[in-house]
Symmetry: C2
Subunit: 200 residues, 2 copies
């Protein structure tokens, strides 16, 4: 019976992270089901059995990628805005950071979390769903707070949160890095639209 190293060395952890990133790239490009373990192993410069030295199973690999992605999201989006006092300014900064996260090349792999939202099962699914829900609740609370303080008009916080998320997260489906709209401008114009609407 093969044993998994209980405490990986630094170099092991580094290798493991490299596997996650390579696997994430492939899964984002082809989708989870279409990207086979063989493909992923080859892309990592390993055989299939060699890859299994670093992962427990294909589904666990996906879970690890999603948790890794959520870590990046929280580091680059959620945590930096958490302590902004003004709820409107907080939401604006949050949208800008989130737009940049899903548009910039080096962090686009987080969109696996978006696309494969129904792929995991059981406890793994619940774990990721829990982390996602924290974000939704954060948005809902911020909208509630902004309404309470009279900073925005009385909107339904849930509808506002999911509209916010829809605008921002849908981007991964259509945005092209070589297109006409640079990420920074997209973030600005999207907030302007969300903030003031379309009426004159």
């Amino acid at each position: 019976m093969a044993k998994m190293p209980e405490i990986g060395s630094d170099i092991h952890r580094e290798r493991h992270r490299a596997v996650l990133e390579t696997a994430a790239r492939l899964i984002r490009e082809r989708g989870y089901e279409a990207a086979s373990i063989q493909d992923i192993a080859t892309a990592c410069g390993l055989t299939k059995a060699g890859l299994y030295y670093y992962i427990r199973s294909k589904e666990d690999l996906l879970l690890e990628i999603m948790n890794y992605g959520m870590d990046i999201f929280e580091e680059r989006v959620l945590l930096p805005v958490l302590e902004i006092g003004d709820p409107v300014e907080r939401l604006q900064e949050c949208m800008e950071r989130n737009v940049l996260l899903v548009t910039e090349e080096r962090s686009r792999e987080v969109t696996i979390i978006l696309h494969e939202h129904d792929t995991l099962t059981g406890a793994a699914r619940e774990q990721i769903n829990g982390r996602k829900k924290r974000y939704v609740h954060f948005l809902e609370s911020s909208f509630e707070e902004a309404v309470r303080e009279g900073r925005i008009r009385a909107v339904n916080p849930t509808v506002a949160a999911f509209s916010f998320l829809g605008m921002v997260l849908w981007i991964y489906k259509w945005f092209r890095p070589d297109g006409k709209i640079p990420p920074q401008r997209l973030a600005r114009e999207m907030w302007d639209l969300f903030s003031r609407g379309i009426t004159p």
Copy 2:
């Protein structure tokens, strides 16, 4: 060499449509790659070989489902609003119809088009992309027209179109028919948000 019936009888066409709808349900529930031909055949009450009497290949089945879905979308959303004179009223009606399309049980299978947006390849993919782009261009033109006529303020039509789409189409990821928000109310509140924004 087996030959496909050139002109299907009415009963054949009806069977074919039933196959599409059953397959669509399965593919929406499990995803295209995860729903096997065997699963689909069994769900249709056929053997695998029997199913192939009605379809040419798995990918062609997906293409047919997407075209079928686009037909329903155009019938229930696009065509009815096409001749509304006022661009703002047109966009509002369009959002409401689109929200209802993706939320109501009997038409939810159209969301396969949304989720599997990168699954098709080659000519099939181009065909569906073409039909999708018609919708994007319709929205962009409507925003342009509304700006030109001074009915809305000067927003970027592309950003407005994709924000509109993001809010509306993201719904399939989170909406639950047994949740707290009925489709009709969601449509109304989402338009209100899109129209007036959040500022007081």
